[in-house]
Assembly symmetry: C2
Homo-oligomer: 182 residues x 2
């Protein structure tokens, strides 16, 4: 029987395979990927870490520092490593997300078409800026490992899909708007 851990647990344990880290370090590491696929709030990180210790997945030691706050360094245990491995080997969860824009769109008949179109423009603009951000990291992350590169490519595919969809939705709604206006 394998020990169950959550995705957030797994993210922290995974980062701890790379060395002894503090909560602060872990947050930086999680944010470093632009929070692209997993970035818990820091309060969550500080809440989870003691739980990991309590469950035997990590140990902590305090490092006394002068001139700056003391810190807790966390180290992965064998049990933690095993729990992580179990999680990694489980088939991934697949489910289409809840997309707020779709909810607004679905009730589009209740909304002024111009506002709806503006909403879609917002989506396209944000997707475009995400795409640009992702395209603008060639050597840094992408060459580092196939895996990091594939996560970036996932984000790019996603952003492109959103842009395509938003463009076509905008076009269609604009056409409708024009048709009913004239």
């Amino acid at each position: 029987m394998g020990v169950k851990i959550s995705a957030t647990d797994a993210a922290l344990l995974g980062l701890l395979t790379r060395g002894e880290l503090s909560g602060y370090d872990l947050q930086r590491a999680a944010d470093a990927n632009g929070g692209l696929f997993w970035a818990p709030a820091k309060s969550r990180i500080y809440a989870v870490l003691p739980q990991l210790v309590a469950r035997g997945f990590a140990t902590s030691r305090e490092v006394v520092q002068t001139g700056r706050p003391n810190k807790q360094l966390y180290r992965l245990t064998k049990a933690g490593r095993a729990a992580l491995q179990t999680w990694l080997e489980e088939p991934p969860v697949f489910e289409p997300e809840r997309v707020p824009i779709l909810l607004k769109l679905y009730f589009g008949d209740l909304l002024d078409p111009e506002i709806l179109i503006e909403h879609i423009r917002v989506v396209r603009a944000e997707a475009t800026s995400l795409k640009r951000r992702l395209e603008a990291q060639p050597a840094e992350v992408r060459a580092e490992s196939v895996f990091a590169d594939l996560t970036v490519r996932h984000g790019l595919e996603w952003a492109r899909a959103m842009i395509r969809w938003a463009a076509s939705a905008e076009q269609e709604l604009t056409a409708r708007l024009g048709a009913t206006h004239v």
Copy 2:
């Protein structure tokens, strides 16, 4: 000052614009779209409805039935309609989701490549089946309204993006695997 409501509140209030409905009806309506963009658990629906009444966004009346359980029918109030409108007019939230597969992939160096490839195949298979499901509803939903159609098209773009990404990821990882094996 506008009254703040959550997306789930908005989903229920939105459905209530179409008439007086019970919790049961609302769940069916939410699931009808294949749960594509917003499908709360029924316990959540039954928890939220009384809150909506308490906040003055809906009224309820009991309908006594014979041969089957009594039911509560909920009706949207003016205040509820106004709160919904405020929510609909707010610019949509845009944020790339948390994708579990990416977390597994990011720590791909900890995982047997064959298992990783199998994970990606799962994603592709599920995305493909979603795509097929969405393609298989022409007259039913899609012609009904532009808005419903656009939500379906969103799902399709998303599914296609996932398929494209998974195919390319699988190819790349397979190549790497072959290279290191031979």
